[in-house]
Symmetry: none
Subunit: 245 residues, 2 copies
DNA sequence: ATATTGATGTTCGTTTATGGATAAAACGAA
DNA sequence: TTCGTTTTATCCATAAACGAACATCAATAT
């Protein structure tokens, strides 16, 4: 344990990741020293080591989910940041399932006095890093694959509150403006979230345009905001307010 | 405690860290004296010792909780094991808040086909390590101190199911056979659990006999089983079925 | 006056952190 | 795949930090 460890963890919590290079120049020590730090922290389970740096530990998630998290994570961080800009201090927020929603949760650390509900167990430690947040969990059936809580109980949990802004993701988007998902148990939660929010923001990186999924969540017109990193050509003039990062 | 301690803590709070060298020259004492001071403060949990100095304890919550987890963990593991013996494969189980309940969760890894609900987020990764378990979460307000979900919503989540066996803990036990807790929001959950279970097991190590807490959860006669590592003298002949490990 | 206690200083052998060197492993591009 | 580059783990040497034991001193009790 040394002086750097606390700072490394802090940076990992705010940025979602740390790099060996970045930390070495930050602390003015050699790369080897940082590697030892990261190894130590990883052995304590406080970080998870990856090539070139480290990320926050997973706990629940499986390998596939880890891979997805690393996929396009720059874009996800930008999307999360843009999304957090829409959140006012002291408001009530919902954070949904998916790595992009987690990026949004990460971007909320500097907000004050939020009431945040989530059905994403990975988002819980991120959100509770800020002690001024009140964090609530929907309840529901745990989906081992990604730490999501789904099903009727999750939907019922959502109905306990009305959100100023709900941040949700989806598995696929089509050109007619529909949102889709794979899992019906997740869809009923998302629908419940949309119903119980003054405004809903969809976060989705461009990869979602080229996917398909069976279960319709909603139409784009049911939403207030769409935050993405690049539009598919056909959707360029969709009526929905769109933020591209 | 001496006059330096207050100043050391003050500096730690403003700078986030203190160094042995810096403090020694500040107070004009030897390095060894400062080391003694820092060791004292670290033992009190007011600082965290690092090589060359000390830092603020990282996230009070985690440290305290980690300490508690290590406290008497042999006994807790035995209690958990004994408790798991009462659980049949394929049954529905509730796992409550506290390190002893987590020990019980750990002991359930070799069971098959359980439906487990919990309001303890620390228990979730433990329970989901066994893929044949169906894991549900109650929902509720997150208590940062220990990862527990409490309040009305947690109690409502509990009412969705009826458990074959519920495993709960408590903060204190008195000789008349009453169970107590510190937090009313947790008590309403425990009461809801007892109501919605065919049988409730209380897990408590002997330290609970010497504690007191304000909020009554239930009477011992409301329970089916009591698993502990040693009885207080006065409770030796309580009518409740008791397993001592 | 003498003994006791507690805080501090001193010494010294041990432990730990760090950086450099090297070889193995992981990665990315062709 | 193969090759070249980057990242990593391991070993070693050095310097710093550490803690235990003992000595010293002052304040207090007997």
């Amino acid at each position: 344990m040394n002086f750097r460890h606390a700072k490394i963890l802090e940076q990992a919590r705010t940025d979602g990741k740390v790099t060996v290079e970045g930390l070495a120049s930050l602390f003015n020590v050699t790369l080897q020293t940082i590697r030892r730090d990261l190894t130590d922290l990883a052995e304590q389970g406080r970080l998870e080591r990856v090539h070139g740096g480290a990320i926050l530990p997973s706990g629940l998630r499986n390998i596939r989910y880890e891979d997805r998290r690393r996929l396009n994570d720059d874009a996800k961080a930008r999307i999360g940041l843009a999304c957090a800009n829409e959140v006012k201090n002291g408001s009530s927020v919902f954070v949904g399932i998916g790595t992009t929603c987690e990026a949004a949760a990460r971007a909320l650390v500097h907000h004050e006095g939020l009431l945040v509900m989530t059905n994403n167990l990975n988002a819980v430690p991120i959100l509770s890093a800020n002690p001024s947040n009140r964090v609530m969990v929907t309840g529901g059936t745990l989906r081992h694959a990604d730490g999501g809580l789904v099903g009727a109980q999750a939907a019922a949990g959502v109905r306990q509150l009305k959100f100023d802004l709900a941040i949700i993701g989806c598995s696929a988007l089509d050109q007619t403006g529909d949102l889709f998902d794979y899992d019906l148990d997740e869809v009923i939660v998302s629908q419940s979230v949309i119903e119980n929010s003054h405004a809903t923001a969809l976060v989705a990186d461009r990869s979602k345009f080229s996917r398909t999924a069976p279960a319709r969540i909603a139409r784009m017109t049911d939403l207030a905001l769409f935050v993405t990193d690049g539009l598919a050509s056909g959707m360029a003039h969709h009526p929905l307010r769109t933020v591209t990062v």
